[in-house]
């Protein structure tokens, strides 16, 4: 069977969930060969093998951390040349997309970004995209070269599938351009202990209606009762009530959880763009006319300051 290259998204050897989802999708079109780069690369092999990677190509040169994006493109290109895969899959993170695009250009291939599903087709893999704030669904193909496709988190289930996961060193020669953009410093984000926003099965978000940073613990408590991640609208972020990294929407994170709960969020098109593909949508808003209610599976017209704490208590009691 044809091989499919999968670029591994990991933090110091801990593989992030979207990569395991990619392995599920990759198996629909071939045998996954994973490419793990940077510190801890080799430590990823175990879990990748358990999820279907027949081979894991590793390189942990310092260039990956010291310079932006291009060293990873050089490495992925080296893997591409070593393997001759039928497709290349990358997680749709900001960096993933940039790496994928530059690789596609170098190998003379088209690129599709932000796929939400992937199937084998007669003319190569067919990608589903949700476009225009998810108001349209498109099916697209790469018509030239070896398909390079980036896939959004939460697009496929994680399915274990035992495979060899044989580790092989990847030889990379870094091009002249690889040292062009220096990473002068890097400050890791402090962990909140909650699930990562894009990976979470449940997301609880707060908007302008939360009315102050001091009230966000209400949203956090509801999130914690459900084991959820916390999101925010841009209005809440711009007001400084919650960090920008929690913004859901067109210019924030795009989430696609099983359950999305919006409190005090009106449902502007740019917010919808980042959450409309959630499986179940719930809103709590005191304005019956708020556009968010057009999207919901369940909506409560009410004051979030009453409804949210009561809901949290109710959930905690039921779980109790």
């Amino acid at each position: 069977m044809a091989e499919v290259l999968v670029l591994v998204d990991h933090v110091d050897g801990a593989v992030r969930k979207p990569t395991l989802e990619l392995l599920t999708l990759a198996r629909r079109i071939g045998d996954p060969v994973a490419v793990a780069l940077g510190a801890g690369a080799e430590a990823t092999a175990g879990v990748l093998g358990e999820h279907g990677a027949v081979k894991v190509l590793v390189s942990d040169a310092p260039e990956f951390a010291d310079y932006l994006v291009v060293p990873k493109v050089d490495a992925l290109q080296a893997a591409f040349e070593a393997v001759s895969p039928a497709a290349v899959l990358v997680v749709s993170s900001a960096e993933g997309k940039e790496v994928a695009a530059r690789l596609a250009l170098r190998i003379g291939s088209g690129i599709i970004t932000d796929a939400t599903d992937l199937e084998a087709g007669d003319g190569g893999p067919v990608a589903t995209q949700a476009v225009f704030a998810a108001s349209y669904t498109t099916k697209s193909r790469v018509s030239r070269g070896v398909p390079v496709i980036t896939v959004k988190p939460n697009s496929a289930p994680v399915e274990p599938a035992a495979a060899a996961g044989a580790v092989e060193a990847l030889a990379v020669s870094f091009g002249e351009g690889s040292t062009g953009t220096k990473v002068v410093s890097r400050t890791a984000r402090e962990s909140t202990g909650r699930p990562e926003l894009t990976e979470a099965a449940i997301v609880v978000s707060g908007g302008r209606g939360v009315n102050g940073a001091e009230n966000f613990p209400l949203i956090e408590a509801l999130a914690d009762s459900l084991g959820a991640a916390v999101g925010a609208s841009r209005a809440a972020v711009d007001a400084g009530w919650y960090p920008h990294t929690s913004q859901v929407g067109q210019t924030g994170k795009s989430v696609s959880p099983q359950l999305y709960i919006a409190s005090g969020i009106s449902g502007a098109i740019q917010h919808r763009a980042g959450m409309q593909t959630s499986k179940t949508i719930v809103a709590i808003n005191k304005d019956a006319e708020a556009p968010i209610f057009e999207l919901v599976d369940y909506g409560v017209i009410g004051d979030l300051f009453t409804v949210v704490p009561q809901l949290t208590e109710e959930i905690n009691t039921r779980k109790g």
């Binding site: 960096e95 999207l295 959930i315």
Partner: protein, 261 residues
């Protein structure tokens, strides 16, 4: 020495209006209202601030798009850019990101640049990869997704807020930069700016001017193909209850029924 800044701006359908596909599965640009992609306003703003801090700078805004795309250039000129380049050619219809980056790279090279500034993503295609492709094609550093940017003595520095970390980046000019909507509010054009924009030069270029063949761009030259586009069925109307003391309980009931609790 003068700092030559080129800002790439895209003309896009208004996100708050009706967006749809034409019969050939390309974006319908004929009957929908368009505007300068809001995220490119941030790129223009940063260009203006960098130019303000430089001894001598010139800002050129470049767009690839149909006749109406001139509106996007006018808006950028009225914000304060000095001149504009409009790449317009019937054969560009249906160009994908590889073609668009090729055309932009040629246009930027022809214009001459020390610094190219882009938005983080367009508000229609939302791929967020064009700046990286432009850097690859031009063979210069990419310093992308910056929430803070400054240029000093031929060096661009910036802050990139990633998924797991915040990075400080540095590269020598020439370079391609993209800025996020966290980089600072974009200014509104003043009346004076709007009047002045009418007199600023807008240069028109076609494929021949850029030494490109029709087959390298457009729908025929695209490296990707859209097979179908279907409007998402409207969500079936959900249950909406008014909270009269029982709202939270009812919602908890719903969540339990869906096995979330």
């Amino acid at each position: 020495m003068s700092l030559r800044i080129v800002v790439c701006v895209k003309y896009v359908p208004d996100a708050t209006g009706d967006r749809r596909f034409a019969d050939d599965l390309t974006l319908d640009r004929e009957d929908v209202d368009g505007l300068l992609s809001e995220l490119d306003e941030y790129a223009v703003e940063q260009a203006l601030q960098i130019a303000d801090g430089a001894d001598d700078a010139e800002i050129t805004v470049v767009t690839v798009g149909p006749e109406d795309a001139r509106d996007a250039l006018r808006k950028a000129l009225s914000m304060g850019a000095d001149r504009a380049v409009h790449v317009e050619d019937d054969d560009l219809h249906g160009t994908d990101v590889m073609g668009t980056s090729l055309v932009l790279a040629r246009a930027v090279e022809k214009t001459g640049y020390d610094l190219v500034i882009c938005g983080m993503a367009s508000t229609d295609g939302v791929m967020g990869v064009l700046p990286a492709l432009l850097a690859e094609r031009l063979g210069v550093p990419q310093v992308t997704l910056l929430s803070e940017v400054s240029v000093n003595e031929g060096v661009v520095t910036g802050r990139r807020d990633g998924d797991t970390a915040t990075e400080r980046l540095e590269a020598s000019l020439p370079a391609v930069v993209s800025v996020t909507d966290q980089s600072g509010e974009a200014r509104y054009p003043s009346f004076k700016g709007i009047m002045a924009a009418k007199k600023k030069p807008v240069e028109s270029l076609d494929l021949e001017d850029l030494e490109l063949e029709a087959g390298e761009v457009g729908l025929a030259g695209a490296w990707t193909a859209v097979d179908s586009a279907t409007e998402r069925p409207a969500r079936t109307a959900g249950t909406i209850v008014k909270d009269e003391g029982e709202g939270a309980k009812q919602l908890a009931e719903f969540l339990a029924g869906q096995k979330f609790i």
